[in-house]
């Protein structure tokens, strides 16, 4: 309870400091919508030239793209500060203050930033899958809805865990941002149906960096009933639990090795 109160106090302070650059935030929001519009336009133009992409029609490909935005945006809302830890804050000797406070360091990092931009992404994703779903004739089952929700929420936990684990390495190597970037960029592979990739990449995206597991497979379940929704949900939840446990463990170990760089 104390932590909930503390979280909101910290977030409020972070929002106030954000308001310093009001005009820039508006430009950033606009450019965010514009950039997604451009990516969607690119996909639309490509699909105009062919009948379907590996058997997927335009609204189906749009659905993949829209759904991929949900876990990514949920993660974006809560854990943006880890990027700074990985890239800058450890290197700049900026983390010392967190080690002096009687609250877990990981909690403090979460409480440092709340990114309202994530809402834009979330709204755009939901709008896109709604528009695409209206242009599809699929048999929506209860199980498919459940597995999509599980994919979005627990997928976000998996992404956050990857971020926590990778940024924790900065405690040892001082800077782990580029490594985090490599891992994170694989999420863009999951914007398209897995069918377009060769078998090895598909396996990588399901078993190693499981972006395909919680984005592509649930969508395939909705569109074509390819997988059992309940087993798939279970697999995603299990995977999220393992990733989160591993991330916390890696964070604890790396945190103990922290040495201030001075400032």
């Amino acid at each position: 309870m104390r932590y909930v109160h503390l979280y909101f106090t910290c977030i409020k302070r972070s929002m106030i400091s954000r308001l310093e650059y009001k005009k820039d935030t508006i430009v950033a929001l606009f450019s965010f919508f514009f950039s997604n519009l451009c990516s969607l336009a690119a996909i639309y133009f490509i699909l105009q030239a062919i009948p379907a992409l590996s058997g997927y029609s335009l609204p189906e490909v749009g659905f993949f793209y829209g759904f991929s935005m949900l876990p990514i945006s949920l993660d974006h809302l809560f854990s943006d500060e880890f990027w700074l830890v990985a890239y800058r804050r450890v290197k700049d000797g900026d983390m010392d203050m967190h080690f002096l406070r009687p609250v877990p360091v990981m909690f403090q990092v979460f409480a440092e930033t709340f990114q309202p931009e994530g809402f834009g992404e979330l709204i755009l994703g939901v709008a896109l899958i709604t528009v695409c779903a209206l242009n599809l004739t699929v048999n929506v089952t209860f199980g498919a809805i459940v597995v999509l929700c599980v994919g979005a929420v627990f997928g976000a936990i998996i992404i956050t865990s990857l971020k926590v684990a990778m940024s924790a390495l900065a405690f040892i190597f001082k800077r782990s941002g580029p490594l985090l970037q490599v891992i994170y960029n694989f999420s863009s592979y999951a914007k398209y149906p897995l069918a377009i990739y060769p078998g090895l990449i598909r396996a990588l995206l399901i078993f190693v960096l499981p972006f395909g597991l919680f984005i592509s497979l649930p969508v395939d379940t909705l569109l074509y009933g390819k997988y059992n929704p309940w087993l798939l949900s279970l697999a995603i939840i299990g995977c999220a639990a393992v990733f989160f446990a591993l991330a916390t463990w890696i964070w604890t170990i790396c945190e103990r090795r922290y040495e201030s760089t001075g400032s």
Binding site: F30, C38, A42, I201
Partner: protein, 277 residues
């Protein structure tokens, strides 16, 4: 005796590997991105009505892959993002005031730096990367027939278009940088600029894929000269007349944008708020 130097030794080693590590990581990220694009295009051609031998909007799948690889190298060599961030830093730190009283042009300083960058980047990375890519793609048969005497004319025009692309990049970055005078921060403006350039320059996909009306408008804008046109000149997809037209268009745009930047700066400089200094 030597023990006290050990931390320095370690720091030095870490420092050196840090930069090497960065280049390595950059290479990994780029290879992953290019691979993703290649898989996407292969799937597109496989799914097209004519199968793998189809020509979509004037590109075979081999040419499309060559296009993706060459635009990636071209952007890496000519792209420059420092201008916007330097202006932003000058505004935030208040150092912009120092430049306003010095007898050099604020604009000229960035243009010169940018050309210096282009020179080093072309020699250090451009020459080996282009050579490796052209030889590999040529041997694999991914390039349209490069008939040799004509290729040298195209190579010359390509280098010229690389110069104009770099100047265009710098001018546009400068214009967006000056707009930071109005917003006091560069994040939003920077991401807007990055998106505009990657979509309208043909980096995301060739402009030939755009619907007709949009295609006509975009091909007269300055952006195509920053990525698509130079690469198509090098691949000899354009004949000499078309190539010359593209290069001339880019240089005309540089003049227009420079004039605009001058006007914008003289307005913006009256808005300047120096935060300390």
């Amino acid at each position: 005796m030597l023990k006290k130097y050990k931390p320095f030794l370690r720091a030095g080693a870490i420092d050196t590997t840090a930069y090497r590590f960065n280049i390595l990581i950059w290479a990994v990220i780029t290879v992953c991105e290019v691979a993703c694009m290649v898989f996407l295009w292969l799937a597109v051609y496989r799914s097209s009505e004519g199968g793998m031998d189809a020509e979509i909007h004037g590109f075979t799948y081999r040419e499309m892959i060559a296009y993706v690889v060459l635009t990636t190298i071209f952007n890496f060599v000519t792209y420059n993002n420092d201008t916007l961030w330097n202006i932003n830093a000058d505004i935030k730190k208040g150092t912009v005031g120092n430049y306003l009283i010095k007898p050099i042009s604020y604009r000229g300083k960035f243009a010169a730096t940018s050309l210096g960058n282009l020179f080093t980047m072309t020699l250090m990375f451009g020459v080996p990367l282009y050579a490796a890519a052209l030889v590999t793609l040529g041997v694999l048969g991914f390039l349209p027939d490069l008939s040799f005497p004509a290729f040298f004319a195209h190579l010359g025009l390509f280098l010229l278009s690389g110069l104009s692309a770099s100047l265009l990049n710098d001018t546009i970055a400068y214009i967006f940088g000056v707009l930071c005078f109005y917003t006091s921060s560069g994040w939003g403006l920077n991401s807007l600029k990055v998106t505009l350039i990657s979509f309208l320059s043909g980096t995301l996909l060739p402009i030939a894929f755009f619907p007709k009306g949009l295609r006509d408008v975009v091909s007269w804008m300055p952006f195509a000269g920053m990525s698509q046109n130079p690469v198509l000149i090098l691949m000899m997809k354009y004949d000499l007349t078309e190539s010359l037209r593209c290069v001339a268009l880019s240089f005309a745009w540089i003049v227009v944008l420079e004039l605009f930047a001058k006007l914008l700066f003289s307005h913006a400089v009256r808005k300047v708020t120096v935060h300390g200094g």
